[in-house]
């Protein structure tokens, strides 16, 4: 039995959805969407589920992740019901739903919660530095260890369980009996989409947006690798040093362009930014910028007299690692690629067995 649940709409509005209940079901959004296909048609189907409050339908759907938000649907919507922004808020809602801690929901709904968490983390870093009497070598060593432990812990405690929850909600619960063989057969899909985001190339006129995003992802991952595993800050190799400079510059330049886009609001995709969107791009920018200048200061041997810069970088890093990565917008990196993987899994099963 299904019942209309009007509360769901109100819930979605806290995640940024606007006016989607103006929809009169003409299907223009679906028809202009270049990623929508015969079987996987959206966004109208998702607007319908949201209007009727079919939480289970939304929960088990991968469609929000199949949309890469070009904004054509919102531009052409006869009712200005903004289906593109609904898809975006469904992604936020799903991120909250997948997260077992519930903190993702809090940070996606409330800007204040983000600010408070950021301040608490900053205070923590300062108090820690104080207890270490601002000992440069000790703190830098600790920071490097922290990076490694934070990555391992966040992945094991938060991200992995959340992906398992996503798998359960979208594959197991809806009744897809996926044979074991399909899991490793489709694994290629996961990595291709994780590192290339190639599906977003299907959006109309998206080459430039895709390329900028691609460069950023590769830059970010390389920066992570250079600082954490190659220990860029203390590495003597010229190659590693130059690589570090290059990728940190890539990260802050591209994110600067992204931030600018959100301020100018020229494209549909950047017209309505939520706190979680702002924190994500700004912190990524700050990470790139501070990492770059910390290394400049190290190479010029003036970091000792300007240790505040490292502390700033470290604070941003900790905020990034314990707030934005596990509970913020960072997770779309995983959910998007796993959605493509799970979608492939679901399609590997004959339709009858899914219906039960």
């Amino acid at each position: 039995m299904s019942r209309i649940n009007t509360k769901f709409g109100k819930e979605l509005k806290r995640y940024g959805a606007v006016d989607f209940n103006k929809c009169y079901n003409c299907g223009t959004c679906t028809a202009v969407c270049s990623l929508s296909t015969g079987e996987d048609s959206f966004p109208r189907s998702m607007v319908r589920l949201s209007e009727t409050g079919d939480k289970k339908g939304v929960e088990s759907s991968l469609k929000p992740w199949l949309c890469y938000y070009c904004g054509d649907c919102s531009v052409n919507c006869p009712q200005t019901a903004d289906p593109g922004e609904l898809m975006m808020s469904l992604r936020r809602w799903l991120t909250a739903k997948y997260d077992w801690t519930g903190l993702s929901g809090l940070f996606h709904r409330s800007g204040l919660a983000n600010i408070i968490a950021m301040i608490l983390v900053a205070v923590g870093v300062i108090v820690y530095s104080f207890t270490q009497s601002f000992d440069q070598e000790g703190i830098m060593h600790f920071a490097h260890l922290f990076e490694m432990y934070a990555i391992a812990t966040v992945f094991a405690v938060i991200l992995l369980p959340n992906i398992i929850r996503m798998w359960y909600m979208t594959v197991v619960k809806p009744g897809y009996k996926v044979p074991f063989k399909a899991y490793y057969k489709s694994a290629g899909e996961l990595f291709v989409h994780m590192f290339t985001q190639k599906r977003s190339l299907g959006c109309d006129d998206n080459q430039a947006r895709w390329f900028a995003h691609f460069v950023l992802v590769i830059g970010y991952l390389t920066l992570l690798f250079t600082t954490v595993f190659l220990d860029w800050f203390s590495n003597e190799s010229i190659f590693v040093n130059l690589l570090g400079y290059a990728v940190s510059a890539v990260v802050f330049i591209v994110t600067f362009v992204f931030v600018l886009g959100r301020i100018k609001q020229k494209h549909q995709v950047s017209k309505k930014s939520r706190p979680s969107d702002w924190f994500f791009v700004i912190w990524l920018f700050l990470m790139g910028v501070t990492a770059f200048f910390v290394k400049v200061f190290i190479d010029l041997e003036i970091l000792e007299n300007n240790f505040w810069l490292f502390l700033l970088h470290f604070t941003i890093l900790v905020q990034w690692a314990v707030i934005i990565v596990p509970f913020g917008k960072w997770t779309h990196f995983l959910y998007r690629s796993f959605a493509m993987y799970f979608d492939k899994l679901r399609k590997s099963v004959p339709a009858e067995s899914a219906k039960k």
Binding site: Y24, N25, C26, G27, T28, C29, T30, A31, V32, S36, T37, G38, E39, S41, R44, S45, V75, N76, C77, P78, Q79, T80
Partner: protein, 434 residues
């Protein structure tokens, strides 16, 4: 230019010579009032005279409009000015309006022209025929259309090369290139605004490919293809002259759509599309007709039955608004839409697409009134000061409104509102002067 404007006195002025304006003028004239009717185009009859048939009775539109038009033209109490623009209307007091008007030169002496068309044959210039909505060409000197009133030639001076060929062949010698605009001043007691509407311009929606894909036409163009006074003697598609056999109608092309700049329902598109579909099944018995719609709004008397009739005749109705139209190499068109009944995204191929274009206001009406403000509503249609109880009243006492000037209307409603406007005008004329 003449030295002094010609000053004339009438009881009422009717602005717009479409079916609403004509009906209002006729009602006033039959009650003994002297009426001046001002039309900006070359012929009276408005849009109705151009139509094929009317819904839901399938009466021939030309056959019911022309007797009405000729009655208006011959009425002793009605003076018609075509090709004329009002420049200002000032209200001096109750039952006292001063109207200034300019009549553009036709370059043909209307009284002498016999509509023999020899000038048309002689003219070397060919341009698109606006009265056939660009489907065929016409000459620079031309009779607007076969049932035009007055049926008199006119010279399109912007395209004329002044070669003088027409002047040489004209039997009564009525071509006169020295004609100048004429200025008039009318003293009238009341005014009726019947400025009608204009059709939505689908070039505003590039994804519908109107203007780039040849076989995408508008509903008024299809109306011409179906009319008794049509340019061809069958239905032909523009790209290659093929008789189409899979025709699609795209409803709400420029109606009920904020993104296209017209949020309201145009009220006529569902019905005229259903009508055209039925006429097409008569003209092309083997053709498949599909109507893509959001909702079918068949609200008037006999309208729903008319829709049911189309369904039983085999017209396909598909719920889903067309998102994109792309032209194929052979001139056929691919329509992308969501079949809302199944939720599936689909593509369909048609060899001709008709955009059922919506209704937009003629905003210019308000600019004519100088001393008093003729208020418009939020969508720039003429505002009715009391839409429920006195729908013909405007923001100015003594100025009444008829037809689609107040918003989208079908023909029966336009005629009704013309009746209301003329009655209100007569009541106003019979008020004791204050």
């Amino acid at each position: 230019m003449q030295k002094e404007p010609i000053t004339l006195t009438y009881d009422a002025i009717v602005i717009g010579g479409g079916i609403a304006g004509g009906e209002a003028a006729l009602n006033l004239a039959n009650n003994g009032y002297k009426v001046v009717l001002v039309e900006s185009r070359l012929s009276v009859g408005g849009k109705m005279i151009m139509l094929s048939k009317v819904f839901p009775t399938l009466d021939c539109s030309a056959c019911i409009t022309t007797p009405k038009v000729s009655e208006i033209s011959r009425h002793p109490n009605i003076k018609i000015f075509t090709e004329s623009d009002i420049t200002s209307i000032d209200k001096l007091g109750e039952q006292s309006f001063v109207v200034k008007m300019t009549q553009r030169p036709r370059y043909v002496v209307a009284e002498d022209c016999t509509a023999c068309q020899l000038c048309e044959q002689a003219c070397p210039v060919i341009v698109k025929d606006q009265f056939q909505y660009g489907l065929v060409g016409r000459k620079a000197v031309y009779i607007p259309f076969s049932i035009a009133s007055p049926k008199v030639a006119a010279i399109d001076i912007d395209n004329c090369t002044l070669c003088g060929a027409c002047e040489k062949v004209c039997p009564p010698g009525c071509i006169d290139f020295t004609m100048k605009p004429k200025e008039y001043i009318f003293n009238v007691k009341t005014a009726i605004v019947a400025t009608g509407f204009r059709l939505y311009d689908p070039t505003n929606v590039p994804r519908y490919s109107y203007g780039t894909a040849k076989n995408v036409i508008t509903s008024i163009q299809m109306e011409r293809l179906l009319a008794p006074t049509r340019p061809f003697h069958t239905i032909l598609r523009s790209s290659d002259g093929k008789v189409p056999d899979k025709i699609a109608y795209v409803l709400c092309a420029g109606s009920r759509d904020d993104s296209m700049g017209n949020p309201i329902c145009s009220q006529i598109c569902c019905m005229y599309s259903i009508k055209q579909a039925q006429l097409l099944l008569g003209a092309l018995p083997m053709a498949d007709i599909t109507i893509y719609y959001i909702d079918i709004r068949a609200f008037g008397k006999g309208y729903d039955e008319f829709y049911e009739q189309a369904v039983s005749m085999g017209v396909r109705f598909v719920k889903g608004k067309i998102g994109k139209i792309t032209e194929k190499e052979n001139g056929n068109l691919t329509l992308r839409y969501e079949d809302v009944a199944t939720g599936k995204l689909k593509e369909a191929e048609h060899d001709m697409v008709v955009l059922s274009v919506g209704v937009k206001p003629n905003k210019e009406a308000a600019d004519l009134f100088k001393s008093h403000k003729l208020e418009l509503d939020g969508l720039s249609f003429v505002k009715q000061s009391d839409p429920l109880l006195s729908p013909a009243k405007t923001s100015i006492d003594g100025v009444f409104v008829a037809g689609a000037a107040t918003g989208p209307k079908d023909i029966p409603d336009s005629i009704l509102s013309a009746g209301a406007a003329s009655t209100e005008a007569i009541s106003y004329l019979n008020q004791k002067s204050q």
